[in-house]
Symmetry: C2
Subunit: 415 residues, 2 copies
């Protein structure tokens, strides 16, 4: 690795704090998998009775740990989570699969559970053979020393090109019983929405049945993580796992056993908040970004069409480079709408940059003043709105600009 | 405009030459549409009897001149071509359409033909109102001074961020009669394949019926211009027009009246050669490029699937940045295959960088030597081959890397 990338302009001024989640203990270690002088391995030990739900990358070349998690998500029971950074264990063939099995077995022994109750994730370089022996011997010690207040070190241990740890926690009231939800995530390149995106781990002490949790996670991932893009490149390793220890039941919160439970909306809103905030934290630490961009599309033929148009804008290199240059080049929005393949009518299209209407009825808006809009583009957070003008479809996605730093980071990621 | 971008490393050492095409006369002028101190307007005057065939952008927000050409391609007769650079006349509403009509009328009067026999194209900034009055008065003089040997100045007049003119010409023998084909094109950003790509104008004195020519152009564009990408961004203005003056008939070449004519294969091969060379010239002048990249995919489920996979690799920003950094990061090829959505089996995938097998059977190839492949990446021309291993589908596409210069060019294109 070259010198570390400069801190994201959106990095929080202080490190995030998160209160412990009952039933979850964490520990981290410096295993030297790729990075030197930093923690690159984390273990979460989960109390008996924990259920897990998740969404995984739709990539056809997904990693060995993703294959493993897919199998375990069927039964939905988890007692441990092991995550390493520096090596994605993707495209590593049979040996990669063996590394997964060795890790799961070692973690199971350390925690005292079945290997199938161990969830795994890896992030880093693709195609580099993974030597599980280099860190599996550390798991016993980690399981022993795991403590409830180690959420932040865990969030730090899974970072790759991230410039700050992403950790979010909230409390939600279930019939008078406070329940915690805390989660962390990592980005920061090869980020594009295809079901799950990147790595994110969320913990709650809510008592909730596995099928209910899985349905919630799938639905909410689509509204949060799947609405972000840094570069349009979908990772082989994308994993979102939500662990529910159920510990709040001991404090009087009855189990949420089905989706019709009246407490589901409140819990769902809280969980969505955590997932949304983590997704935003990933975009705001997008590789090399200088600006955070929200793109809202209305008036498309359908919600799906609106989303395709929004991502066509959000993933356009020429549009993203213009934003980096603070150029209100709305002609490139027109281009991206046009290339999306979705129904559009040039003469019904309207485009706003922030509060400024820049184009309508097939041409530049009469009230457009270049200087005013150029001034708006100097903001760190940019909003682009497009009304297609032909239907009721709506979508909102989040992205960042494309800068020199993105090129620098990705031109020498492995060197 | 900022300072001009540095010359492409693939720029030819000397200016291209092209012999005149009988029945075609050209002229250029400095109209001051956007650029200062350079030619930005070209006119081609075509002898009576010229037929025109073409392919146009599939963008839903296509420009006014593209709308105009679409209407005229139905009858396929052309007596003049007018092209300006600096303003795309795209998303310019009714006024853009009026500008097109004013230009066509002025050119028609200058040449002595119907406005419907004038083909038009514009390239440059999108959404900037076009004042046809600023240059339509020049057309009379240009038509008068037009000369057969002005192909190179014409190729130069249509450049925007291009760093060199793209001009190709060949001669093909039709039953002992030499026939010429000469064409020019411009790139260099907002280049992605969706039928036609960018502007390209090709002239031949071959006598060929309009339906035969149109069928050939559509088929060949798909094999040439539609197989290139610079940044995955499809322009609003993409136009390929092929004009056939038929003048070789006077030298004894009978008209090619139908697609079964035995001379079609030779003519088609020659025309394809010109279109291919122009397409390659566009990629080799891709905005900010340092490397030219060929991507070949074999063993996919179908040719269409192979093409989708090839473009998934060719348009991946993270892959393109790695190539710029001379990093043999084949893991990103795995990622791009996986995200393409096409059928793939990780364990049957093979990847080569140049002659070097880097991955097979789901993991890094045993013979892979990082240093050797890193050395290969220092070449200016890189070839990446992927065998998907599940079918007979094949595709080949061409692209370039993603560099700091691309960002610089597009961050301040309008400033």
């Amino acid at each position: 690795m070259g010198s570390p990338p400069p801190l994201s302009p959106f990095a929080p001024k202080s490190l995030p704090q998160a209160a412990p989640v009952e039933g979850v203990r964490l520990a981290v270690a410096e295993a030297g998998i790729r990075y030197k002088g930093r923690k690159d391995l984390m273990v979460a030990v989960l109390d008996p009775g924990t259920v897990v739900a998740g969404v995984l990358t739709q990539s056809k070349t997904r990693s060995a740990p993703v294959d493993w998690c897919a199998a375990q998500l069927r039964h939905g029971c988890a007692r441990a989570l092991v995550v390493n950074s520096g090596n994605a264990n993707a495209f590593t063939g049979k040996r990669g699969q063996e590394a997964v099995e060795i890790t799961a077995a070692a973690a199971a022994e350390a925690v005292g559970c079945a290997p199938e109750e161990v969830m795994l994730a890896s992030t880093g370089v693709i195609g580099e053979p993974m030597d599980a022996g280099a860190f599996s011997h550390l798991l016993k010690g980690l399981a022993t020393e795991a403590a409830p207040d180690a959420l932040l070190p865990a969030a730090q241990a899974i970072m790759t090109t991230d410039t700050y740890p992403k950790l979010v926690s909230v409390s939600v009231d279930l019939d008078g019983v406070p329940v915690r939800i805390a989660g962390f995530a990592k980005g920061a390149g090869m980020i594009a929405p295809d079901m799950a995106t990147m790595l994110s781990f969320i913990f709650t002490d809510a008592p909730i049945a596995h099928p209910v949790l899985q349905a919630l996670v799938s639905e909410l991932a689509d509204q949060t993580f799947n609405c972000i893009t840094v570069d349009g490149d979908t990772s082989t390793s994308d994993t979102v796992l939500v662990f529910a220890t159920g510990k709040a039941a001991e404090r009087g919160a009855a189990e949420i056993a089905d989706a019709m439970d009246p407490r589901v909306p409140a819990f769902s809103a809280a969980l969505k908040g955590v997932m949304h905030d983590l997704a935003m934290a990933i975009v705001k630490d997008g590789e090399g970004l200088s600006k955070f961009v929200e793109i809202e599309v209305t008036g498309a033929e359908s919600d799906k069409a609106a989303r395709t148009i929004a991502f066509s804008i959000a993933n356009s290199p020429i549009m993203k480079a213009a934003i980096a240059g603070e150029d209100p080049n709305w002609g490139r929005v027109v281009m991206a709408v046009g290339k999306s393949g979705e129904a559009a009518d040039r003469d019904r299209l309207s485009i706003w940059f922030g509060p400024h209407l820049v184009a309508k009825e097939g041409e530049r808006a009469p009230e457009y003043v270049e200087q005013t809009v150029a001034q708006y583009m100097k903001n760190a957070e940019i909003k682009i709105c497009v009304d297609v003008g032909i239907g009721g479809g709506h979508a909102r996605v989040w992205t960042c600009d494309l800068t020199h730093a993105y090129i620098s980071i990705n031109a020498d990621y492995r060197s």
